[in-house]
């Protein structure tokens, strides 16, 4: 400790502190209103599809479109695939990502009937780690109001959500576990997992 003169030490600390500010600043570059606006828009688009009265299969494709536009599918796919994401080649990852996107559109799209006649109110946002947690409340028919939290980041270059937490139940954690189980069933073969995902949901 005594090896370093006092003012040098101060200088090092100053550098570290400065570096922290530099690193921390872009993380909060996304402002609160942009995060809230993103979720507001996504909810409106979901309701526009639900109220359009189109055939379910067509609705699922449109839900997938909303997911592709407003969610950070790349980050979600990487996180859901876990350690295997670092081992696959780019083409394999791209195929997995596309299959996951369709699977999410079908799996969560299938639940649209529960939202008919209900509404989702966006309430505000709070900073969390390097991103924003946008809070909303879902009022569905015949059910108590549900807390729905959306995690939004602009690390992809644009504000996008990467997780939804419904009454404490974490969608990304749940899909991570599900994809891990599907991958284990295929003994780690990501190609086979991708083929299974195209049929699932």
């Amino acid at each position: 400790m005594t090896l370093m003169p006092n003012d040098t030490r101060r200088g090092v600390l100053g550098l570290i502190a400065g570096g922290c500010i530099l690193v921390a600043a872009p993380a909060r570059a996304l402002d609160q209103s942009a995060a809230v606006a993103l979720i507001q828009r996504a909810v409106e688009e979901v309701y526009a599809i639900i109220n359009s009265g189109r055939a379910p299969a067509q609705m699922y494709r449109e839900f997938e479109g909303i997911f592709a536009r407003h969610a950070d599918v790349d980050a979600i796919a990487r996180s859901a695939l876990g350690p295997a994401a670092r081992q696959v080649d780019p083409a394999q990852f791209k195929a997995f990502k596309a299959a996951l996107q369709g699977y999410i559109g079908r799996k969560y799209g299938k639940r649209f009937r529960e939202f008919i006649g209900g509404r989702v109110e966006v309430n505000g946002a709070r900073p969390l780690k390097s991103f924003w947690a946008v809070q909303s409340t879902a009022y569905l028919r015949g059910q108590s109001p549900m807390a729905v939290e959306w995690h939004v980041s602009d690390r992809s270059g644009r504000p996008k959500f990467f997780n939804i937490i419904i009454e404490g139940v974490n969608m990304l954690a749940s899909e991570r576990e599900e994809i891990a189980a599907m991958l284990a069933r295929r003994r780690g073969d990501v190609g086979a997992l991708t083929a299974d995902l195209r049929q699932a949901g």
Partner: protein
């Protein structure tokens, strides 16, 4: 007293799971129970729920649902399943009041007391819910498992119980004490207690109808339904108990 402190310390010492993690030392046993529960659902509960929910208002013809349904009537009179559910929920309120008091939380205790009084009288013995609809007194849910949590007892190991489903060591202890301290049982005779239990079972079956697609998706459509059930239960329970949960940051991985 010394024994109580000792018991408390022993319970506190078994906090082995990291916060937000899963503590499941009985997994092999739990998985066998899960297979049994899943079979029970597929052979008994799901067919029953489908029959009961066949013409329920929860499943409107989606392909013809235009925007007009959005503002549709939501003040429809409750169906028989909902009425039984209401009665059962109303009878659970005195027990919740006791637990709120044990937790040192007078406000939910007072609100649930008023809710019980309004729904038992104006709500015709709890069949209807005027307290929630007209007096802004929704049910505030709690149980002895939460009381144990407030007292500092850790969650303990994850358990899947036959028929009753997912739980933890703390919630199982809570469930047992909950039935013992329920004041309603002292006011009822044996037949009424049986009717109360029957209403509770029927209301659980009603839940299976209402949340049918959720249960189907988790139990019958996931690759590892045991792991999914465990995750959903623990996360939701920790949320109910207002425990801080770790947020996933995919950009920091």
């Amino acid at each position: 007293m010394r024994a109580a402190i000792l018991l408390f310390l022993t319970l506190s010492a078994c906090a082995s799971a990291p916060p937000g993690g899963v503590n499941d030392p009985y997994e092999p046993f739990n998985r066998r129970v899960h297979a049994f529960n899943k079979g029970l659902d597929a052979t008994v509960l799901r067919p029953l729920a489908r029959r009961a929910g066949g013409n329920a208002p929860t499943a409107p013809a989606a392909t013809t649902a235009k925007g007009a349904t959005a503002g549709g009537p939501n003040a429809a009179p409750p169906g028989p399943i909902e009425m039984i559910g209401n009665v059962s929920a109303n009878l659970s309120l005195p027990g919740k009041v006791v637990n709120s008091l044990l937790q040192g939380r007078p406000e939910p205790a007072i609100r649930n007391t008023f809710r019980f009084l309004v729904n038992t009288t104006v709500g015709l013995g709890g069949v209807l819910d005027p307290a929630g609809a007209d007096f802004a007194l929704p049910e505030i849910d709690t149980d002895f498992g939460e009381t144990l949590h407030v007292w500092g007892v850790p969650e303990g190991a994850y358990l899947e119980l036959p028929v009753l489903g997912p739980s933890t060591e703390r919630d199982l202890a809570g469930m047992i004490v909950n039935t013992v301290i329920d004041p309603v049982d002292n006011w009822l005779n044996r037949d009424q207690r049986t009717a109360k239990l029957a209403a509770r079972v029927a209301s659980k079956a009603g839940d299976r109808t209402q949340f049918g697609s959720t249960v189907d998706s988790v139990l019958h459509e996931s690759a590892d339904s045991y792991a999914q059930t465990r995750l959903l239960y623990l996360q939701h329970r920790r949320f109910e108990l207002k425990q801080e949960q770790d947020a996933i940051d995919p950009y920091a991985e």
